[in-house]
């Protein structure tokens, strides 16, 4: 038996296939694009091309587009799926998860294998992947390069959490001739502060904090976040697939 998990996020769609015994066989990602309905159809094609049968194998969908996957038997929220997937990836039953998504950032506290509490940012995009994207755009680069650039910068700050106002601040820093590295440093510090203040409400002593989501491999962000939160934060290569893996694990139980 194979089980399929699909995580359609606001910017990226992830797919995981497991062998029905909890082992990951295949992972895939692609941009969601403007339509989650079309993304779901593209995922179906890619699954078929890789030799999996989305019409036959149990399938769970999660993420913001979870309700538009016609071949999924069930929709489960990203909170439950990320919790499930992260436990598998990190081999821990107690952990605090920080997931930086495209349009929302979640903090999930897992104890004894179950979600005990969670927080999600409200409608505002402060502290999300979108915030970094907008800032990266203004600096004519992409999110990953912006975070990497921040390692070379120092001593600059932006005070506004609001994406729109922060963008104006960045523009005025550019106008003053501040270096890109310093501006990148300011942006990364700002987002790390915002997320840390949210995470500090749930992250507990003696419990490992982990980073999942599209920016899991951005070391500089993880370091800035660890510093602001005052906790060691770990991540791993496939942490961006936590939601999809969790969904596949739920599909195994269908």
């Amino acid at each position: 038996m194979r089980a399929i998990g699909i995580d359609i996020g606001s910017s990226c769609a992830k797919t995981a296939v497991t062998d029905g015994q909890g082992n990951v066989l295949w992972l895939d990602q692609m941009p969601t694009g403007w339509s989650s309905v079309e993304a779901a159809e593209e995922i179906r094609k890619r699954l078929a091309a890789a030799g999996f049968d989305p019409g036959h194998d149990p399938c769970v969908a999660t993420g913001y587009g979870r309700v538009v996957v016609p071949f999924a038997q069930k929709a489960v929220t990203e909170i439950s799926c990320h919790a499930k997937g992260a436990q598998k990836l990190f081999g821990l039953a107690d952990l605090d998860i920080i997931d930086i998504g495209g349009q929302d950032t979640k903090v999930i506290s897992v104890r004894g294998g179950s979600v005990r509490d969670f927080l999600m940012n409200d409608k505002c995009s402060a502290g999300t992947g979108r915030f970094l994207e907008v800032m990266a755009n203004t600096l004519r680069t992409d999110s990953a390069s912006l975070i990497a650039m921040a390692a070379e910068g120092s001593n600059t700050s932006i005070s506004s959490m609001c994406t729109v106002f922060a963008e104006s601040e960045v523009i005025s820093l550019i106008g003053k001739g501040e270096s890109r590295e310093n501006i990148a440093f300011a942006v990364v510090t700002s987002i790390a502060k915002k997320i840390a203040s949210q995470a500090s409400r749930l992250c507990a002593d003696g419990v490992q904090t982990v980073l999942t989501g599209g920016l899991c491999e951005a070391d500089q962000l993880r370091k800035a976040l660890s510093l602001e939160l005052g906790r060691d934060i770990i991540s791993c290569e496939n942490a961006r697939y936590a939601g999809a893996i969790g969904a596949a694990l739920f599909a195994e139980k269908l």
Partner: protein
């Protein structure tokens, strides 16, 4: 949205829709109408003065831009919406109100009433906000002063006996409301919480208290009979949710409805329009009827009180009586008293071992998607 109510509830949806015609009729027949905002308004005094109270709580986003011409943006949507209805003359109830009655509850309302007073005849009752020994004495004085104001305003004496009679009738109404809400104690509950709330809300637009009692009782009888006959409108597996926090009439769709769409069952509303206003009755035979009326209203556990021990005691009781699997606090944007107090509620729920989630929202639909995900995830967590 009222069209989606189960058949047994249809009359309450209609009551809401026809309320406008009823109030118009009251006025045409020479009747008096008082617009009210809060469960602290001593209805018995208005009843005894022959004045029909009607709730003016704004529940629509539509009039908020009009209100923002005078009021700050970062303010409670209920206050802005209510004020907007008055400024733009879009609310027939505000339009037909002879007087508007407010209380010194939260800061936002208090200051809004000052502005409203420039357009309408506003009477403000000064509500004591805590547990001082003289609080009841002070509030009794306020209720008496309100009585005298009404006597002068309408040129008619209000007798003690009329107040006692009103109290007896309102006690019956409170009992009828309680009975309907208590049907949800059954496992599975006898109705969707959404429909129960709509019935309680619709009941406020009958204007005839006897009719309200009759209709609410008829509905409860019907639901009980259907349940006894084996009807189960709510799944046995649905997680039982208690709702607490601010008035929720304006956010019902994206909160209560979203919870029930995700497979939960709202079994209890602790909020203003729910249990808290109905648990205490007026002792209609007390030697001092004004003090008895004052005492009932002063017992309402609202976050404007400091400390707000009664709300915590009530929540403790309701969680066990309604066997809640989880508690959801719904706070309106910029409501300082409730959002600060949510920390105390969270601690209480931790102590009781009941999972708790607080959401802050306004009357827009912009956060509907995210709220639905959060509520759904909360249900999955239970």
């Amino acid at each position: 949205m009222d069209f989606e109510l189960p058949a047994q509830f249809a009359q309450f949806g209609d009551a809401r829709k026809n309320g406008f015609l009823r109030v118009k009729k009251i006025k045409e027949n020479g009747g008096r109408v008082a617009g009210t905002f809060c469960t602290f308004t001593p209805q018995e005094i208005l009843d005894a003065a022959g004045v029909s109270p009607v709730s003016l709580c704004g529940m629509s986003e539509e009039t908020i831009p009009a209100a923002e011409a005078h009021l700050p943006k970062n303010m409670c949507p209920l206050i802005k919406s209510s004020y907007g209805f008055a400024v733009s003359d879009k609310c027939p109830y505000t339009y037909f109100s002879d007087i508007i009655v407010g209380e010194t509850t939260c800061d936002g309302k208090k200051k809004m009433y000052e502005l409203l007073g420039k357009m309408k005849d506003v009477y403000l009752l000064h509500l004591p906000q805590g547990d001082r020994e003289h609080a009841l004495e002070q509030w009794t004085g306020e209720v008496q002063r309100f009585r005298e104001f009404l006597e002068q305003r309408f040129g008619e004496e209000i007798s003690d006996e009329a107040i006692r009679e009103a109290a007896r009738l309102r006690n019956k109404e409170r009992a009828a409301r309680r009975r309907l809400m208590e049907l949800q104690k059954a496992q599975p509950p006898m109705s969707s919480g959404y429909a129960i709330y709509k019935a309680l809300e619709g009941a406020g637009f009958y204007f005839d208290v006897k009719e309200v009692c009759r209709e609410l009782t008829r509905l409860a009888d019907q639901l009980e009979a259907d349940y006894a006959a084996g009807q189960r409108p709510v799944s046995e597996k649905a997680k039982r949710i208690l709702i607490t926090g601010c008035p929720i009439g304006g956010v019902l769709e994206k909160t209560v409805k979203a919870i029930e769409a995700a497979g939960g069952a709202v079994v209890c509303f602790e909020n203003c329009s729910g249990i808290k206003a109905t648990i205490d009755e007026v002792d209609a035979d007390a030697p001092d009827i004004i003090a008895a009326v004052a005492e009932k209203y002063l017992k309402i556990g609202c976050a404007v009180m400091t400390p707000d021990i009664r709300r915590m005691d009530l929540l403790r009781r309701l969680v066990s009586e309604y066997r809640a699997d989880g508690a959801v606090e719904i706070d309106l944007q910029a409501c300082t008293t409730y959002s600060v107090e949510s920390y105390t509620v969270r601690k209480l729920m931790e102590e009781l071992g009941v999972p708790y989630m607080a959401i802050e929202t306004d009357y827009s639909v912009s956060d509907s998607g995210q709220l639905a995900t959060r509520l759904e995830a909360f249900l999955e967590m239970l």
